[in-house]
């Protein structure tokens, strides 16, 4: 595996590789921190989680059939989807009224929600707590919403354009820039700033 391929490993892949190392001592952690500095925080958290996890006892826990059924349904949904549908547009089913209602529930302007829907914001800059709230309101998993937000910005089909020039994909901006430019009230702005990671 080349260094270039290394940089493409996701946080999850790096943590999984770390987790199956025969030893989790300082030397191993140091090695991973040097190789994957972009995942340093996650690696430290993981090393400590591995340490304390061994002291937990899960024998007395009572499981629920509902939870297993839910996971089974999730499996069936994903396994049944064609590969190109794995990244779905969670906004696709919203009609204009539902779209406005979603903006209201999130206490943001329609303009900011449009920017999110059109992937005009760099996904990595969106606070994860905001993504979680958005996912909850959309009835999707935070991961599915993040997958969508991370996919390349594109012209969203199904919207009307009236223009003399051909519409193009706009350049992405940061979440901070987006909230400053989305006609939010000072209170809304403060609330969104407080969500920053």
């Amino acid at each position: 595996m080349t260094a270039e391929q290394h940089s493409k490993l996701s946080e999850e892949e790096v943590l999984l590789a770390f987790s199956v190392e025969p030893k989790h001592d300082r030397k191993t952690l140091e090695q991973y921190l040097i190789e994957y500095p972009e995942h340093a925080k996650a690696l430290v958290a993981c090393s400590i989680e591995l340490m304390v996890d061994a002291t937990r006892n899960d024998d007395a826990v009572v499981t629920s059939e509902d939870v297993t059924n839910r996971a089974w349904q999730r499996f069936q949904t994903v396994v049944g989807q064609p590969d190109d549908v794995l990244v779905t547009n969670p906004f696709a089913t919203l009609n204009p009224t539902a779209f406005r209602s979603l903006a209201k529930k999130l206490d943001i302007t329609n303009l900011l929600l449009i920017r999110l829907r059109d992937r005009a914001i760099v996904a990595a800059t969106i606070p994860r707590r905001f993504v979680q709230r958005l996912a909850t309101e959309l009835g999707a998993t935070a991961e599915a919403v993040m997958d969508y937000l991370q996919s390349p910005p594109a012209m969203v089909s199904g919207h009307s354009f009236r223009s003399t020039v051909k519409p193009t994909v706009t350049e992405q901006i940061s979440f901070t820039e987006a909230i400053e430019m989305s006609q939010l009230t000072p209170a809304q702005l403060d609330a969104l700033k407080a969500l920053q990671d």
């Binding site: 595996m1 943590l15 430290v44 989680e49 304390v52 996890d53 499981t63 499996f75 396994v79 998993t141």
Partner: protein, 261 residues
């Protein structure tokens, strides 16, 4: 013979299962399917005949590859019950706000990983055939970083606003007494186990410092080539010391309380 793993390490070699897991797989391959499923159903790790989850993942993937839908679903459900058990312990209702929703989201994500593996997309399940509990702890860590609460509810230890300021001599003394007073005590496996369990009760920032200290990292160094806690956490050396001192004070209280019970 169990099928080998496909995932490659960074040095180009293929990952291998530990010998004890290979032995389990060979043994289970000789057992009738119905009996195997019966053995898988044991949920308690303490029970005789408890089959390691690494083996469940192997036979889950085999069932899918062989088109044995019924067996696949049965193993999937057993595996998910084990995961739920583990999550209820790691993300208990008392430890984290919204714990139930977080557990469900993590289970959903794991179900998605299995689905993607069935479609031959990631091959990430190989890790779970090597060291299931460790791999799942890593998966959970990554998921929690995305969806977990920013602050974990733990023992109240005061505000962190004074991170950069010196703290009282009393706390400093408690810390040195705790971590530096008796080095032999830290080497005692029973004490270390008790201490590690207590660390789980600390807020994340303090947990990081104590966790790294226990792994042998030093707080700070003039030598820029040494990886120190201050450099890893990208914060001032005084902040690290203050977090350590607060953590030590809290740990001492937790351990004293536990020993008094």
């Amino acid at each position: 013979m169990p099928k080998p793993l496909k995932r490659k390490k960074k040095d180009g070699t293929t990952y291998e299962r530990p010998p004890e897991i290979e032995a389990w797989l060979k043994k289970l391959e000789t057992v009738e399917v119905a009996e195997r499923l019966r053995q898988f159903a044991t949920l308690s790790r303490k029970s005789i005949g408890y089959v390691p989850s690494e083996a469940l993942v192997y036979f889950l993937r085999r069932a899918w590859a062989d088109g044995m839908q019924g067996d696949f679903e049965k193993i999937f459900r057993i595996l998910m019950k084990r995961i739920e058990q583990s999550l209820c312990s790691a993300i208990s209702d008392s430890r984290m706000a919204g714990a139930r929703g977080i557990r469900e989201e993590i289970m959903d994500r794991f179900a998605e990983r299995i689905a993607k593996d069935c479609k031959g997309r990631t091959g990430l399940l190989d890790f779970y055939e090597i060291r299931f509990d460790k791999a799942f702890a890593a998966f959970r860590t990554s998921a929690l970083r995305q969806i977990g609460p920013t602050v974990v509810d733990t023992v109240p230890l005061g505000s962190d606003e004074d991170d950069g300021l010196e703290i009282s001599a009393e706390v400093e003394a408690a810390a040195s007494d705790f971590l530096g007073g008796d080095p032999e005590k830290l080497d005692d496996p029973a004490f270390r186990l008790e201490l590690t369990a207590a660390i789980d009760c600390l807020p994340d920032d303090q947990k990081q410092v104590i966790g790294l200290l226990l792994q042998g990292f030093q707080i700070d160094s003039k030598d820029k080539n040494i990886m120190t806690i201050a450099r890893i956490l990208q914060c001032d050396e005084r902040t690290v010391r203050n977090r350590r001192d607060r953590a030590c004070k809290a740990l001492k209280a937790i351990l004293q309380e536990e020993n008094a019970q």
